[in-house]
Symmetry: C2
Subunit: 225 residues, 2 copies
């Protein structure tokens, strides 16, 4: 009879795969792409270098999966925010703030996944998730345009792209490992991050909102509620 994996083995295999993925993510989280070497991943996961290739066809595939898992969670968070029934302005603000705050919670990883130079194949995978993020932002923008809160003279696709590029770019400085502004991780730090997220979100919202001057916006808010 043919060889068949028992459940026990199946579980061990799955566990190995997961350990390799976890080790890979941990390494990127600590040292960025420079640390992300197959041999390092292997020892961190407690397996031999060659074993990594039993689970992943190549280094790029491994790290693309790491990036996918982490990025997909962010897309899901944005989707959930986009799904709620708040006013589009508040929704967009919440989406951008959430993204920024979540990124700042694991700066090194976020920096690697968003901005750090890396191999082509991984970089291409980034684009996929940028698109996915942009799509969620665009949903909010379109909703806002239909709702009357957002300007209708802007192309929603371009507006969403600018917004995504905008908050990504403004994250790069704060995320950068060379920037010491947000290292304490104390309470002060959390507040500083919150303030930063708010300011970035303000600019993003301003880009699409119908009424930008404070008085008009406030009356607009009241009118809508």
């Amino acid at each position: 009879m043919a060889y068949r994996k028992t459940e026990r083995v199946e579980a061990r295999l799955a566990d190995n795969r997961q350990r390799i993925l976890d080790a890979a993510r941990a390494l990127v989280s600590e040292g960025g792409w420079a640390e992300a070497q197959v041999s390092h991943v292997a020892s961190a996961a407690g397996v031999a270098t060659g074993s990594v290739y039993r689970y992943f066809p190549s280094k790029a595939d491994l790290f693309v999966e790491v990036l996918s898992v982490v990025s997909q969670r962010e897309v899901d968070v944005l989707e959930a925010i986009a799904d709620n029934d708040d006013l589009p302005f508040q929704t967009l603000h919440a989406a951008v703030s959430a993204f920024v705050e979540r990124a700042m919670r694991n700066r090194r990883l976020a920096y690697a996944l968003i901005a750090e130079p890396c191999e082509k194949e991984i970089d291409e995978a980034r684009l996929v998730y940028r698109h996915a993020i942009s799509k969620q932002i665009m949903r909010i923008v379109k909703e806002g345009q239909e709702h009357g809160d957002f300007r209708t003279d802007l192309d929603p696709n371009i507006a969403a792209t600018v917004v995504v590029g905008g908050f990504m770019e403004s994250l790069i400085g704060p995320l950068s490992p060379f920037n010491a502004d947000f290292d304490g991780s104390g309470k002060q730090d959390a507040e500083a991050v919150h303030a930063l997220a708010g300011q970035i979100a303000d600019v993003c919202c301003a880009a699409v909102a119908q009424y930008n001057n404070v008085t008009s916006f406030k009356s607009n808010q009241r009118r809508q509620q």
Copy 2:
């Protein structure tokens, strides 16, 4: 008596250096960073591989200089635009449009310099010029805030960063060598590029403008002039 370079030799050396720089830029313009190999540069410039190292200490130094020359010109263009005395809204619009249109004129090069994955050292040089660009945009933003055309509740640094990230990001798609939308380079193409630049600039301006709804903005414009 000690050896002394004649003018003739001096000129030839300077010419060699320039030819190497030009060849390097041409190669990046054609094939991006993949073509940007020292040996390729050497043959394109009509010298031997080793000779490149008489003029530049390393590959990275060579290409950083290529990037610097090209990028500095863009910074200068923005500076000139920021210097003029138009209304801040028009100035910002012109700056963003100009950047987008100029980038689209040499797509492959712009793509390489802005977005294509490349070595760390070159990538770091990119940051320097992003900062320089952001600085010019910030000047316009601040002027607009003082002038009363732009919202004063936004942090000018963050606003400028978001704007720069926004138009850079929205360029990536159109610049990408895999995107066939803007290949013809005919008259239609020029118009499409112009339209794109206008739309991107609209979004960027909206992000900082005091009055976004069309009627208020128009009256605002009239009032200011």
